[in-house]
Amino acid sequence: MSKKKINIFQIERNERYDYLVTKEQPLSYTSECFQKVLINIDYANLDNDMKVLQFTSTLASEGKSTFISNLAYLLGQKGKKVILIDLDLRKPKMNRVFNVTNREGLTDYLSGKVQYETVVRHSEEIGVDFIVGGEKTTSVVNVLEAKKLKELIVRLKSEYDYVLLDTPPVIAVSDALYVAKLADGVIFIVAQNVAKKSLVKEAIQTLKHNNVHIIGTILTQVDLKNGSYGYGYDYSYKYE
């Protein structure tokens, strides 16, 4: 039950990471939902002191990469300078979002193989900068604890309006906890019908015990057609 059940009657979940719903369907309800998240993050960040935002979830496949890429796109559209970093070094996906190979990424930069100018790439299509995971490494924790990574983030923080960090799920590995030390706050993604409440609770407790600042949660993959949500849920925000 912990995984999304395979239902032959249901359309398979979108696994195309390079498809940005906010770009392709800017007038859709989904896009409006993303816009609302943006507004809420703005409200939560009135002092503008949260620049490094980390995104994590309980389990895999809760829609993190999809969420971050769309959010990055919208932030970029608003004229913000955004950089997206793939810190899910075990299962990197940002390369798929930006349709590039997973080379010359973060691990390569940290090991000194590539320079800052090479590792930071720009996507014309999405309008943001990004850093892919890079060559796979067995010592993920060492990478995440590296001083050089900390320095990199400090540098990016000064150059960008937002630094978005994609991290692995909390329950599987402790990577997210290491990354949290570098981030100003965590946005926790919960997908409908994926992780059991107890598991989500465990994940959030783990973060809290490590004094991680959770800015808020996002409920993703909500089934509007026949789920517990009425269509047009909270639709009125448009007129606010």
Partner: protein, 236 residues
């Protein structure tokens, strides 16, 4: 969140119920269909068809043979039950078995035999259900014949001598069961109930976060947004 708000969010409204049912519509339809199919198969293939025949006798007690219409209705009424009982007794049924050469026991016949007497009339209705069209007729007629024979000729039953009059003969058995439309209707209803039950149970045991409110109340952390499931549209 205060107590009252929590209470309202935990309640299940009619709309929620409707949504749960709509969400599990396929499951409910599948169950209904499966039960209906099973009921149909049972009614048409598995269940043996049975047939029923029936006939009546009348109980009359004549007080004076010479006087026409001199009947004792009170006694007749009292004898009704006795005669009805007699028809189900081994003494009658064994004679029926011997007469018809059936390979059955008396209690097997008794299972299919229904003898009903009324308190407001002098008739006794005898019916028999079996899977053989002719056997049903023969058993009903045999029971009546044997009962009259025993009453009239067996000195042990002299109290009911000449009191039983045959008023009708049993015909060939008519189709009795299974009632095919009824089975199918019951199958459909049962399937629907089971489907709805399972859908509700499924929802009850679904302990994942379903709504923004659930998530917000559970952790007390602000929910920054709700993102619906979306489809990849190739053509804009």
């Amino acid at each position: 969140m205060n107590e009252q708000q929590l209470e309202t969010t935990n309640e299940i409204s009619l709309i929620d119920l409707f949504k749960i049912l709509r969400k599990n519509l396929l499951l409910i339809i599948a169950f209904t269909f499966a039960f209906a199919v099973f009921a149909t198969v049972y009614a048409y293939v598995i269940a043996d068809p049975t047939y029923k025949s029936n006939a009546d006798v009348m109980v009359q007690v004549q007080t004076d043979v010479a006087v026409e219409g001199a009947y004792d209705y009170t006694t007749a009424q009292k004898l009704l039950a006795t005669i009805a009982e007699l028809m189900k007794k081994d003494v009658v049924l064994i004679e029926v078995i011997n007469e018809l050469g059936l390979e059955m026991t008396a209690s097997q016949i008794r299972n299919g035999l229904t003898v009903t007497s009324s308190t407001t009339s002098y008739f006794i209705n005898i019916s028999y259900i079996s899977d053989d069209v002719t056997e049903t007729r023969d058993v009903v007629n045999g029971v009546i014949d044997a009962a009259i024979d025993i009453a009239n000729n067996n000195p042990a039953f002299s109290a009911i001598k000449d009191k039983i009059t045959r008023t009708s003969n049993a015909g060939l058995g008519v189709y009795e069961s299974p009632n095919k439309p009824l089975y199918i209707v019951i199958g459909i209803i049962l399937g629907g109930i089971v489907g709805v039950g399972i859908a509700l149970l499924k929802e009850l045991f679904n302990n994942t976060f379903q709504t923004k409110d659930q998530l917000e109340n559970y952790f007390g952390i602000q929910v920054l947004g709700v993102i619906p499931e979306f489809e990849v549209r190739e053509v804009k």
